[in-house]
């Protein structure tokens, strides 16, 4: 069981939020592979079995379609399941129930579908093509799923609380590279943070960097660097990619007149495409430069470090792009 030391890691923030929602609401339960005695592959639910018992901490067979569909049925009759996918990559095995059962059900029928799907995603752990995927684009086109991608421990906590309380299916994507690399700056609040509200995490004048998840800390670091060269970067953390807070993005771009979108997912039809298309639709006359997208190359994520580093966006490339757009 995580305890809030005042410096919770991103991983602990997820655990603390889940723990507090399970404390608060007896209808919340966690289900997935090895979430019980083992505490989950990444140990988010360590101690949960002892605290909440096997009724509410449900180890499953390796059956992603089965347990995702089960969650849907349980949610329909009033429970609030939290489904853990061991790696986000395996969510492909539940793609069908997610898009055809969970996502569409409320719109078809009016029945609530309060399922939260948690999945550790992303690269930089040298885990290769089928353990490093960014999965948000598989789902962002599908009507009916909210997609939450926190970039800080604070947001990880508050957004998970909101996801669990939401009556729609939410896909809550945890960047596993951040798990033990980010710490909260102070004691963690477990108050809900509303879904669909972006946050300007750094004010700036010359260019707006729109990003989410690991892009936030990465972007902030690069922004500090560029500051030394007199380039002032505004960083917008969109936090939930669906629904998208277009207003905050557009307001920032109106101010800076330049925009770069950053994510770890492959560029082609990555969520940056939606953001870039929207910005130019909404703020065309304010743009001094085209919106530039930074994403991974359109290849799978390689395992070997020199290859993975060549595929996934690196700070130097981000800095270079921001510099170019700001100065063009």
């Amino acid at each position: 069981m995580p305890t809030d030391s005042g410096q919770a890691t991103y991983l602990e923030a997820v655990g603390l939020a889940l723990d507090s929602e399970m404390d608060r609401d007896p209808d919340v339960f966690i289900i997935g592979e090895d979430v019980g005695q083992f505490g989950g592959a990444f140990k988010v639910t360590k101690g949960f079995l002892e605290k909440f018992g096997a009724r509410r901490v449900v180890d499953t067979p390796i059956a992603e379609t089965g347990f995702t569909g089960l969650a849907a049925g349980a949610a329909l009759v009033g429970l609030r399941p939290v489904v853990e996918f061991q790696f986000a990559d395996f969510i492909s095995c539940a793609f069908d129930p997610i898009i055809n059962v969970l996502a569409r059900h409320h719109w078809r029928t009016g029945d609530a579908m309060p399922v939260t799907m948690r999945a550790p995603f992303g690269g930089r752990l040298r885990a290769g093509p089928t353990h490093s995927q960014s999965v948000e684009s598989y789902f962002a086109h599908v009507p009916g799923i909210k997609i939450v991608m926190p970039g800080t421990p604070e947001d990880a906590a508050g957004l998970l609380v909101s996801s669990i309380r939401d009556n729609s299916p939410t896909l809550y994507l945890e960047n596993k590279y951040l798990y033990r690399r980010l710490r909260a700056s102070g004691p963690l609040s477990l108050d809900p943070i509303p879904l669909g509200v972006a946050k300007v995490v750094r004010e700036g004048r010359d260019v707006t960097l729109i990003t989410y998840s690991a892009g936030v800390s990465q972007g902030l670091e690069v922004a500090e660097e560029l500051d030394k060269d007199g380039i002032s970067v505004e960083v917008v953390d969109i936090r939930t990619i669906v629904p998208l807070d277009v207003e905050t993005i557009v307001n920032s771009v109106r101010k800076t007149s330049r925009a770069v979108v950053l994510h770890e997912a492959a560029k082609r039809l990555g969520y940056g495409a939606e953001i870039a298309a929207t910005i130019q639709e909404e703020a065309f006359w304010d743009l001094d430069q085209p919106v530039v997208r930074i994403g991974a190359l359109n290849t799978p994520t390689p395992t070997s470090p020199p290859l993975e580093d060549a595929v996934i966006p690196q700070p130097a490339q981000i800095a270079e792009t921001l510099r170019k757009v700001a100065r063009a």
Partner: protein, 337 residues
């Protein structure tokens, strides 16, 4: 691992009937007759151009859908599939609502957002399935899970076709339900075909019930044209489930007497299969059993049929008169409040 084959209730029909609740028997008969009447009416409506798309019927499935649904308490859950109008009607779905669904009317259970066979009403404990078969199976395990989670003894009954047993959803939900000992009964409606494909090209197992062995649960095959045989087998599964002893499979063997849907002439079905099976009309068979046992007399049976016919006619009238939906607000309800 009790996997066995049971064709008819062991006791001679007469004796068995006498020991049963005549009200329940007559209600089963009524709903079976109504199911047939509504579907016959809808076939006419399909031919007459009243419906939007194709029509999926459950002729010869009445004994399975009503026989099975009639084992449930009103607070139990049900996850039917496209041949189970009888099960819907048993739970209180209105015939006109079903027609409205096939017509895309505002009064359909989904207000015209979904249509054809995609109706269901959670207030009646009925899951409304998508097209993907058998997506209702994992959902059914979830409803059963919730019952167990809350310490309730509600059961969830799920239906699928023979062909549907090949899919991920079947296997993964049976695995989940058996490992977690969930209060489910899974009814397999073996109607000899999956769309155009005959049984032997869907599954290589001796029966569908025998697949229960793979999950360490009971499986039984019954005559799916015999409402009482289905009722008894499902009742046993429901009792087991309610007692916390876990899930089971009941396979009802019948025949799909129409095309996959009404657009399908089904000329791939050997004619002699129809000839043979036409002798086994489940509605007629059950009516005769009740008449023979004196639970129903000929006149009463006739009245049941006439009432059903009138109800179906009235349902059509209402559904036809009902309005089409307004597009305003179509973007609402993507998310739940």
């Amino acid at each position: 691992m009790a996997t066995r084959t049971r064709r008819k209730p062991d006791a001679p029909a007469g004796t068995a009937i006498a020991d049963r609740d005549p009200v329940l028997l007559r209600r089963i008969h009524e709903v079976m007759v109504l199911t047939r009447a509504v579907e016959d009416r809808m076939v006419a409506m399909y031919k007459g151009g009243d419906l939007l798309g194709s029509l999926y019927t459950g002729h010869w499935h009445e004994a399975i859908s009503v026989g099975a649904a009639s084992t449930l308490r009103t607070d139990d859950y049900m996850a039917p599939i496209h041949r189970d109008l009888g099960a819907h009607l048993w739970r209180g779905m209105e015939p006109w609502q079903v027609m409205a669904s096939f017509m895309g009317k505002a009064t359909s259970p989904t207000g015209g957002r979904d249509g054809t066979l995609h109706y269901g009403r959670l207030d009646l404990g009925i899951y409304n399935l998508p097209s993907h078969i058998p997506a209702n199976f994992p959902v059914a395990t979830g409803m059963a899970f919730a019952s167990k989670y809350r310490g309730q003894d509600r059961v969830c009954l799920a239906f699928c076709g023979d062909g549907s047993t090949s899919r991920a959803d079947f296997h993964e939900s049976l695995t989940m339900a058996s490992v977690l000992k969930l209060p489910n009964v899974f009814v397999i409606e073996n109607n000899q075909f999956a769309y155009s494909t005959p049984l032997r090209m869907q599954s290589n197992s001796e029966t569908f019930a025998i697949k229960a062995v793979a999950y360490g649960i009971p499986g039984v095959t019954v005559d799916g044209t015999d409402a009482l045989a289905v009722h008894d087998a499902v009742a046993e599964g429901v009792a087991r489930a309610r007692a916390g002893e876990g899930p089971s499979i009941v396979e009802g063997v019948t025949m799909r007497m129409h095309g996959h849907a009404e657009h399908d002439p089904a000329d791939y079905v050997p004619k002699d299969m129809y000839d043979e099976w036409s002798k086994k009309d489940p509605v007629e068979l059950f009516e005769n059993v009740l008449i023979d046992a004196g639970v129903l007399d000929g006149d009463a049976a006739k009245k049941v049929r006439e009432d059903a016919r009138q109800l179906a006619i009235a349902a059509r009238r209402k559904a036809l008169a009902d309005p089409m939906p307004e597009p305003s607000g179509i973007e609402d309800g993507v998310y739940a409040d």
